[in-house]
């Protein structure tokens, strides 16, 4: 999951803001710890706060310009939103340290961007992310004052790559509310949080590629056809991994090219004992059988194997939603089955 990167050099002064901004994504333990620090006369160090927040897996904070620059240069793809304090000078940094991270950094750049390190981070992200929707400046001054000293940013605003609305003035209640609403409603993070149990299972047993496919499916960003293909792939991935875990018990279900035949695996799972009138496999149940069949049949007819049916009886969004709900059930079934055999 992509995270939110919050870059702020004065973390200990901003604990209440951290709680307000990220309450939705912070765990109870983290909020408790932050509140304890608020009551503590000695207070926390920036590092302690970073350690606490970064454990959330949703929010990442950096209080040092060097750390932030490293993340922006090397790991920018890991983040869906950047909230950056424009002035990061409170936490000392040495120019050589910055040069070792960014070979473009020079004494001249240091001089030019000292006290507005956030602008430099912004420029390093230009062309890599959608600045307009993913980057917000936090600043103690009104946007007009900030822009006066930021020609480069002003240039990007002129060509609509950025906006004055992306400047959030500290202490400006409506600005803060706006940013908070953006943070609260980041689709990818919200979807993951809402579907945490499914995501965790897929990530754990099927890997990051399938996990990202699941997120893409849940985000509903793709076309209907692609969604059907994704549903089928995820479904087969579940069966494949189930098979791999239970291969000895299930027996050989591979074809001549050594590919696992998912249909055969499914058949094995739903095998019915006529005498006892129950499924042979203890993990199986009628819902799994019906949903599995349905996913298999529909994705074969409309997605994975046939293009023709789509034009005659197009698949509606509701049908896709229904299939996703069935897939979710199967994911939970799969998670339980895998846990049993852990």
């Amino acid at each position: 999951m992509k995270k939110i990167l919050y870059i702020e050099d004065e973390l200990s002064t901003n604990i209440p803001r951290i709680i307000n901004f990220f309450q939705k994504y912070l765990g109870l333990k983290q909020i408790k710890k932050l509140n304890e620090w608020l009551d503590d006369d000695f207070g926390p160090t920036n590092k302690e706060i970073e350690y606490c927040i970064n454990a959330s897996n949703v929010i990442e904070v950096s209080s040092k310009f060097s750390d932030a620059l490293e993340k922006v240069i090397l790991h920018y793809e890991d983040y869906c939103l950047f909230i950056v304090d424009r002035n990061l000078a409170d936490n000392d940094y040495h120019i050589d340290e910055i040069k070792s991270i960014d070979s473009n950094f020079s004494d001249e750049i240091h001089e030019r961007y000292y006290g507005r390190e956030g602008d430099y981070l912004f420029l390093r992200l230009f062309g890599k992310i959608d600045l307009l929707s993913q980057f917000y400046f936090l600043s103690a001054y009104p946007v007009e004052d900030e822009l006066r000293s930021a020609d480069e940013v002003r240039g990007l605003i002129d060509v609509n790559n950025f906006s004055r609305d992306n400047y959030i003035e500290k202490g400006n209640y409506s600005n803060i509310r706006k940013l908070q609403s953006i943070v609260d409603n980041i689709k990818s993070i919200s979807i993951e949080l809402e579907n945490k149990s499914y995501c965790d299972i897929i990530k754990r047993y099927c890997g990051d590629v399938k996990y990202n496919e699941l997120l893409a499916l849940l985000s509903n960003d793709e076309s209907t056809d692609n969604n059907l293909v994704t549903i089928r792939r995820l479904y087969e991935s579940l069966l494949t991994n189930y098979y791999l875990r239970n291969e000895i018990k299930i027996g050989n279900k591979r074809d001549d090219s050594d590919y696992i035949q998912c249909g055969e695996v499914f058949k094995w799972i739903i095998k019915w004992d006529r005498n006892s009138k129950e499924y042979i496999n203890v993990n199986c149940n009628p819902i799994f059988e019906k949903f599995g069949n349905c996913i298999y049949m529909l994705t074969s007819m409309y997605g994975a194997h046939s293009q023709n049916s789509a034009t005659d009886n197009p698949v509606t969004d509701d049908s896709i939603d229904a299939l996703i709900s069935m897939l979710k059930y199967i994911i939970i079934w799969f998670g339980d089955a895998m846990k049993d055999s852990d």
């Binding site: 009551d39 000695f42 207070g43 000078a89």
Partner: protein
């Protein structure tokens, strides 16, 4: 026949006074040159000589003067006496001359001057009293007043003395002339106009009256020009034009009039802008303080109720207090002038009056207290107290001394937990400054800003080398503050610059400039500020 003051003598001494109160060798030489110019006014050859040759000629003239030909009553006597100025010799000469000329004013004046130069207050006071008695008996000997002017110690208010004479002898033109002349030295335009008006109404014009206009156009206007006070210059021009149109037309003033008026117009626009800015700051400050009060009060009530988390309420109250302090500092730093300080130095008996020593103690206390603030000064807190145990020990010791605050304990605390400190304060620091015009609070804010900076930036140095030195001296009527502290060179720090703005504004108000020196090799940062001793008259 009444004594008519010798215009040249008066002019000579008034010149001396406007230039310097102490006759140094250069001044003496200048005066001697002037005397030679007077002695040889038509000597074209002399005038064409180079400066070096003039001095040579001058020295020859001096040595050729027969000592016996110069008597205490001759015009050249003071020049001669001071030309021979070399410590004890002049005293012997004066004492010898006085034996035969007990009542000679020039000798007595010279003695007064000698006592002042050698800081013999008792001798000076005794000479002065002789003059005062003479003047009280006969104000027409008022040129002596001009002599008395040299007497600059605290216990003699020269202008007041003249005003008293004026009250006793309202139509005495000599006193009026002296008053006008001395208000010129004070640059008090209103009074100048008043006394020139009185002289004009008396219809008594002596040669010295013309000299007043010369003083006004040549000395007063130049001084005002230095202060860029074009409004007052235009007033002075109007005064001269009104009372002495002939002088006005003959002088170059009419030629420069339009230039002065243009400068005045430009300055008026700037002043209007400044006034507008100050008005906005004052009104903003007022509004912010009102709003802050509406925040502080409910917070304080919450704190008393002890139902909500005390540290959070404390931090919130502290935050609002910091805003209020910032607003107050900015507001005060933009309004007022050095005159306020002079006035408050005199009016210093109310409860708000405090001494510089008290201001420093309070500023140091506040600065140290700030270092325990994890919310707003966490960086410095960590520098001073890297671990919890150090912090808690220091805090507990601080709380023990905070209530019954005592300067020695404060220093001992600083030494034991934070930095080495040395404070050397001149006696002037024990004089009280009133707050009628906000001077006590202004100077307190200035010390607070200076000391807080020193305490904050010393923290970046290791404990062993951490120090703050504060020295306040009072020399030649100038109070000099010097704060030195250890600092880490090349440390760039996030700052709004507000503190520096406040310091610079106050320095400007005190007609001074904050002189900052950094000695990177010694990790030494110092700020120096010099301003007049308000407790002594201008």
């Amino acid at each position: 026949m009444k004594y008519q003051p010798d215009i040249k003598v008066i002019r000579e001494f008034s010149d001396i006074d406007t230039q310097t109160s102490i006759l140094d060798q250069d001044t003496v030489l200048t005066l001697l040159k002037k005397s030679v110019d007077d002695l040889f006014p038509l000597d074209e050859k002399y005038r064409k000589l180079s400066e070096k040759e003039k001095i040579k000629r001058l020295n020859e003239s001096i040595s050729s003067l027969n000592e016996k030909s110069i008597t205490p009553n001759t015009l050249e006597y003071p020049t001669y006496i001071w030309g021979k100025y070399d410590g004890i010799d002049i005293y012997k000469r004066l004492v010898n001359d006085k034996i035969e000329n007990e009542e000679n004013d020039i000798i007595n004046y010279s003695l007064l001057k000698y006592y002042i130069e050698t800081n013999d207050q008792q001798g000076a006071r005794s000479q002065l009293n002789k003059f005062l008695e003479k003047i009280e008996k006969d104000p027409d000997t008022a040129y002596l007043i001009e002599f008395c002017k040299i007497y600059q110690f605290n216990d003699f208010d020269y202008i007041k003395f003249l005003e008293d004479c004026h009250e006793m002898y309202p139509n005495n033109h000599v006193v009026l002339h002296m008053l006008a002349l001395n208000y010129m030295h004070e640059l008090n335009i209103g009074k100048i106009m008043h006394y020139l008006g009185l002289i004009d109404s008396l219809k008594v014009e002596i040669e010295f009256t013309q000299n007043l206009y010369w003083e006004l156009s040549d000395v007063v206007i130049k001084k005002l020009e230095k202060r860029l006070d074009y409004a007052s210059i235009c007033e002075v021009l109007s005064i001269i034009e009104f009372y002495n149109i002939q002088y006005y037309q003959e002088s170059e003033l009419s030629f420069y009039q339009s230039l002065y008026y243009e400068e005045y117009r430009t300055q008026s626009v700037e002043n209007a802008r400044t006034e507008e800015r100050d008005k906005i700051i004052a009104s903003l400050s007022h509004s912010i303080k009102n709003i802050i009060a509406s925040v502080i009060d409910p917070l304080t009530n919450l704190q008393k109720e002890e139902k909500y988390r005390p540290k959070i309420i404390k931090d919130a109250i502290r935050g609002t207090q910091l805003i209020r302090e910032m607003v107050t500092a900015i507001n005060y730093s933009y309004k007022g002038s050095i005159e306020d300080f002079y006035s408050d130095a005199v009016n210093n008996i109310d409860n708000d009056s405090i001494t510089i020593t008290q201001m420093i103690s309070e500023a140091l206390k506040i600065s140290i207290e700030n270092m325990f603030d994890s919310k707003y000064h966490s960086k410095f807190l960590r520098n001073y107290f890297p671990n919890r145990s150090q912090f808690e020990t220091a805090k507990s010791n601080w709380e023990a001394i905070e209530e019954k605050f005592n300067e020695n304990q404060l220093r001992a605390f600083a030494k034991s937990h934070m930095f080495n400190m040395s404070i050397k304060l001149d006696d002037v620091c024990n004089l009280k400054l009133g707050n009628k015009n906000g001077s006590a609070i202004k100077l307190s804010i200035l010390f607070q800003e200076l000391l807080l900076n020193a305490v904050k930036y010393s923290s970046f140095i290791n404990r062993k080398n951490r120090f703050i030195n504060l020295v306040i001296t009072d020399e030649k009527n100038i109070i000099k503050i010097k704060i030195e502290n250890s600092y880490r060179p090349n440390l760039k720090s996030k700052t709004s610059g507000l503190g520096q703005t406040v310091i610079n504004n106050f320095a400007k108000m005190l007609e001074s400039e904050a002189l900052i020196t950094k000695k990177d090799k010694e990790n030494l940062y110092s700020v120096e500020l010099a301003f007049p001793n308000f407790w002594n008259k201008k």
